[in-house]
């Protein structure tokens, strides 16, 4: 495989992904969304140009009257809340795609799209944003610390566009590693299928919460998988490895549904104890609702 920077497929994908993200952000009605920052302002620092989504109450009307420019007052707390996008790009999210999976059809595509959209949105709001990739291969960067600026956005979008689903997310180890590098206060947006035992990764997530990290989780799933939406018996295997399991979906469907239900209750239980914001999203649904939910900080 060639270097991602010269891979035409990746370049096209970067462009496409960037475009999708900007379209998504542009599609939102002005004023319907606000920045991810929610901290109360305490000390004025400087001005920034107004961008859609900024709270109107922070407009400096005097400046607007004098110079006909819309500027927003910035305060210390707001400027110091970095956002880290933790994106699961393990093999299970690609469900066996030979090459870069379709951005619309797979959990991987949904995860990448969500992450890129959030990055664009946050960059426009001048928020420092970083990226952590869990698993995957092909990306020149798997770890991008939060920063502001267009260069940072290009780097993030490039990494998301280039990464292929591969390997395991290893949520436990990854969350511990990320936690060690995060600033004391910040926001972590975890985009994952959470296909590891909640009892394993739950404590690691709780440790982040105890450090004051604002946790927001987008739980991706494949509607066909959870509904066993196919007919012929098949041997199911994980792209991440392990033994195959022969399943006749016609007879296993209902039991599997009850297992899924039980699993979701378990996940929500853990996240509830941590105080994390949770949003469950099928991979074939538009990202708007999920993004809005994450930005609002409530389901």
């Amino acid at each position: 495989m060639s270097h991602p920077a010269w891979d035409t497929e990746v370049l096209a994908r970067i462009s496409h992904l960037h475009l999708r993200a900007r379209q998504a952000v542009a599609g939102w009605r002005t004023g319907d969304h606000r920045s991810i920052r929610t901290q109360a302002n305490v000390e004025f620092v400087d001005y920034k140009e107004y961008s859609p989504g900024d709270p109107i109450r922070h407009l400096d009307w005097r400046v607007a009257a004098r110079s006909d420019r819309l500027v927003i007052k910035r305060h210390a707390a707001e400027t110091e809340v970095p956002v880290t996008l933790v994106v699961d790009v393990s093999g299970d999210l690609g469900t066996g795609a030979e090459s870069l999976p379709d951005l619309d059809g797979t959990k991987h595509g949904a995860a990448v799209t969500l992450a890129a959209t959030l990055a664009v949105f946050l960059q426009r709001h001048g928020d420092p944003v970083g990226l952590q990739l869990l698993g995957g291969e092909g990306s020149p960067w798997s770890e991008i610390p939060p920063k502001s600026g267009s260069g940072q956005l290009a780097q993030i979008v490039g990494a998301l566009a280039a990464v292929r689903p591969q390997g395991e997310a290893k949520l436990v180890d990854s969350l511990q590693r990320i936690g060690d590098r995060l600033p004391r206060r910040g926001v972590v947006v975890l985009i994952s299928d959470l296909m590891e035992e909640p009892s394993a990764w739950g404590p690691s997530l709780a440790a982040l919460g105890h450090r004051g990290i604002d946790l927001r989780v987008i739980h991706l799933y494949d509607r066909k998988e959870w509904g066993m939406d196919w007919t012929a018996p098949a041997q199911l295997f994980s792209p991440e490895g392990g033994e195959a399991v022969a399943v006749d979906p016609g007879v296993a469907r209902s039991t599997f549904a009850s297992v899924v239900e039980e699993y979701l209750e378990e996940v929500q239980g853990w996240l509830g104890r941590v105080g994390a914001h949770y949003h469950c999203m099928a991979s074939d649904t538009p990202p708007d609702e999920a993004l809005a939910s994450v930005l609002r900080g409530q389901a």
Binding site: A232, F237, A246, V260
Partner: protein, 694 residues
């Protein structure tokens, strides 16, 4: 128990039992492979279902394997075999019926109210003989005591055999199973045939001892067909021993009672003494235990044969046990006063009376001696059934009483002859020669009138007469001094003649002679103080008392005392001079046989047997009891098992398993179908849909 197969090759198909496993292993696996991103959830579902699926799968698998295995095993026609069968009877053409009429076959069922085992055996044997084909040769043997043929040879005369079997009588004898099979074998003439044994097979060793005979029978082509006669509950209580011995009052009879049954029992036990006195106690005996009950005999009791008896009812003959009892208590003594003295010192009777009954005649019974003083004329009243001992005290002329005395002694009485100044050697030697240990010679002075006289040697306390002085008093004999004694003609010691006491100078003082059934003691001195100081010494009274006990005890049962078992041949040695000897058994006179040494007879009933001659006490008394082994009616090793060791095929119980296995397969099939049906419920279907594939 062993197993065998009628068609072993069919077992080769057992490999088919693995078919369900193979079918399970090659169960169709889907060929399509599909990436799946929620394996975590799939594995959770697997874990949830795995346990139940494993149980159900294994259960079904096992059931199906069992069904196939059962069908194949059934095809192999398996059968179980174990020893203990009674072979099917008939077909050989020669049959010998062996009937056990030993004591144990008298066992009554239903607590003594039912019939005996022998009566049942007879009925079965009769039925069997009647059912035989007309051309079958039949013989019959009994095995009570020693085996004996009821028919001299095999015969087709069915009625003769039937009559002989009907006449088989109950005995109190032991079981001769070995002899019975041997006689059966001989009746078959060394050829094939069947020996049908009707027996309770009682006793711990009778069956085991029969093994060699069974082997011989089998070798000659014959077969043993046991027809066990067992009571529904094998239980019996028996008196297996009774013996008189020392003890308080007049001594004790120790009675041993055994229970040969499964339960603890309590039975009344009665000791009946020869004089008719009965002493009863209740005896508790545990299962398989032997207990000893002690009965105290009164101070005064007539000697003879007593009986210890229990009330059981299942086996009457062993409910009693005969035992010998000596005369206990007072001995009736006649003192013949030949020289009534003017003063007590000059009267032998005076001293003898005080020695025999020192506290008067009322207490004499308690002391054991009832003296009866009489003159020579009173001897005519002498009766060996009444008197035990006669003291002749310085009788001048014994001729009027000599015949009475000789007859008395011959019949078991005892005479103590005391001499004195009235005695003359010629008169005594003439008429009492049959009694005197040695002819009298003459009076001899051993010391001057004023001198103390010649002392007596200490007696031999190992002799029964002097045994009471073993622990003390022996030295007192040394103080007995004789100034005058009768000397005797030379004599030699024999089995019937011995010197019991001498002076230090070696002169005989007391000589004993056995005569007939009785005995004579000759004292060469006087019983008064005329010839010595004997009556003045401390040893006098106990010595006289001991003398009476010694002589009286023997005289009470003067004859030989013997013990025997039912069935024994009892031999009794008798003097040639005796005539009209007879044997009286418990049921009257018993046939006897004269031998050069005496007589002999078979004791075939339990109880007392008396060998007697008219007008005399019994010459011998035999207490006859049954063999305790016959009382043990508990189940021992079965004859069928022993016979099966020799001829196993004939005695095998066969149990064919084919039908049962087919039923088992059918039942398992139904169970399997039920499981399979249940497995098709919704959840089971899920289990079927989710399998593990490597």
């Amino acid at each position: 128990m062993t197993a065998a197969l009628g068609l072993p090759l069919a077992l080769g198909l057992l490999g088919l039992a693995l078919a369900p496993i193979l079918a399970h292993l090659v169960r169709r696996q889907p060929t399509e492979r599909r990436p799946f991103g929620a394996m975590l959830l799939l594995r959770r579902m697997q874990r949830r279902l795995r346990k139940r699926r494993r149980i159900h799968d294994k259960r079904l698998l096992a059931l199906r394997m069992l069904i196939i295995a059962a069908v194949i095993a059934a095809a192999a026609k398996p059968e179980l075999r174990w020893p203990g069968a009674i072979p099917e009877f008939g077909g050989t053409g020669s049959v010998v019926v062996v009937i056990d009429n030993s004591l144990s076959m008298d066992l009554r069922e239903a607590g003594g109210r039912g019939g005996t085992l022998l009566s049942r055996s007879r009925e079965q044997a009769l039925e069997l003989v009647r059912s035989l084909p007309a051309e079958t040769l039949v013989g019959a043997v009994t095995i009570g005591g020693s085996a004996s043929r009821l028919t001299p040879s095999l015969t087709r005369d069915r009625s003769a055999v039937l009559v002989a079997i009907e006449d088989v009588a109950q005995t109190q004898l032991g079981t001769d199973l070995v002899g019975g099979i041997r006689e059966g074998r001989r009746l078959l003439g060394g050829g094939g045939g069947e020996v049908v044994v009707f027996s309770d097979e009682a006793g711990p060793s009778a069956v085991a001892a029969a093994l060699p005979e069974i082997e011989l029978l089998t070798e000659q082509g014959g077969a043993l067909v046991p027809m066990p006669q067992r009571a529904a509950v094998a239980a019996n209580v028996a008196v297996i021993g009774a013996k008189y011995g020392s003890g308080p009052e007049g001594g004790s009879v120790r009675v041993r009672v055994a229970s040969f049954g499964p339960d603890k029992v309590e039975v009344p036990c009665t000791v009946e003494l020869p004089d008719g006195t009965e002493i009863t106690a209740f005896v508790q005996v545990g299962a398989g235990e032997v207990v000893e009950e002690v009965f105290t005999v009164p101070r005064v009791t007539q000697g003879g044969v007593g009986t210890a008896r229990i009330d059981d009812g299942t086996l009457a003959a062993d409910d009693g046990f005969a035992f010998h009892l000596p005369t206990v208590g007072a001995s009736r003594v006649m003192v013949v006063d030949g020289d009534p003295g003017l003063t007590p010192v000059a009267s032998e009777v005076y001293y003898l009376e005080r020695a025999l009954a020192p506290w008067g005649s009322a207490a004499a019974m308690r002391g054991g001696v009832l003296p009866e003083v009489t003159g020579v004329a009173g001897v005519s009243a002498l009766d060996p059934e009444t008197h035990q001992v006669v003291f002749l005290a310085n009788v001048a002329d014994p001729s009027p009483i000599a015949n009475h005395l000789i007859d008395f002694v011959q019949r078991g009485g005892s005479v103590v002859i005391g001499l004195g100044d009235n005695v003359t050697a010629d008169r005594y030697n003439g008429v009492l020669a049959a009694l005197l240990p040695a002819p009298l010679r003459k009076r001899r002075a051993l010391a001057a009138p004023e001198e103390p006289g010649e002392a007596v040697q200490p007696p031999d306390t190992s002799l029964e007469l002097f045994a009471p002085f073993a622990r003390g008093g022996r030295a007192a004999f040394g103080r007995i001094k004789w100034s005058r004694l009768f000397t005797l003609q030379p004599y030699e010691h024999t089995e019937d003649l011995r010197t019991l006491l001498r002076t230090e100078g070696g002169l005989p003082v007391l000589v004993e002679r056995k005569v007939g059934a009785g005995r004579v003691l000759l004292m060469t001195g006087t019983f008064d103080a005329g010839w010595g100081n004997l009556p003045l010494q401390a040893a006098f009274m106990p010595w006289v008392q001991s003398m009476v006990r010694y002589l009286g005890g023997r005289s009470a049962a003067a004859g030989e005392l013997r013990e025997a078992r039912v069935g024994d041949l009892v031999s009794v040695d008798l003097p040639m001079s005796l005539v009209d000897v007879s044997v009286q058994g418990p049921r009257g006179e018993v046939a006897m046989e004269t031998t050069p040494a005496g007589i002999r007879f078979y004791a075939n009933q339990a109880g007392a047997y008396r060998v007697q001659t008219p007008g005399a006490p019994a010459l011998a008394v035999v207490a006859v009891n049954v063999d305790p082994a016959e009382s043990d009616v508990r189940l021992g090793p079965a004859l069928a098992e022993t016979a099966a060791e020799v001829d196993p095929d004939r005695f095998m119980v066969r149990f064919e398993l084919m039908t049962w296995l087919m039923w088992l397969a059918l039942g398992l099939g139904l169970v399997q179908a039920g499981f399979a049906l249940r497995r098709r419920t919704a959840e089971e279907e899920v289990e079927a849909g989710v399998q593990h594939a490597s």
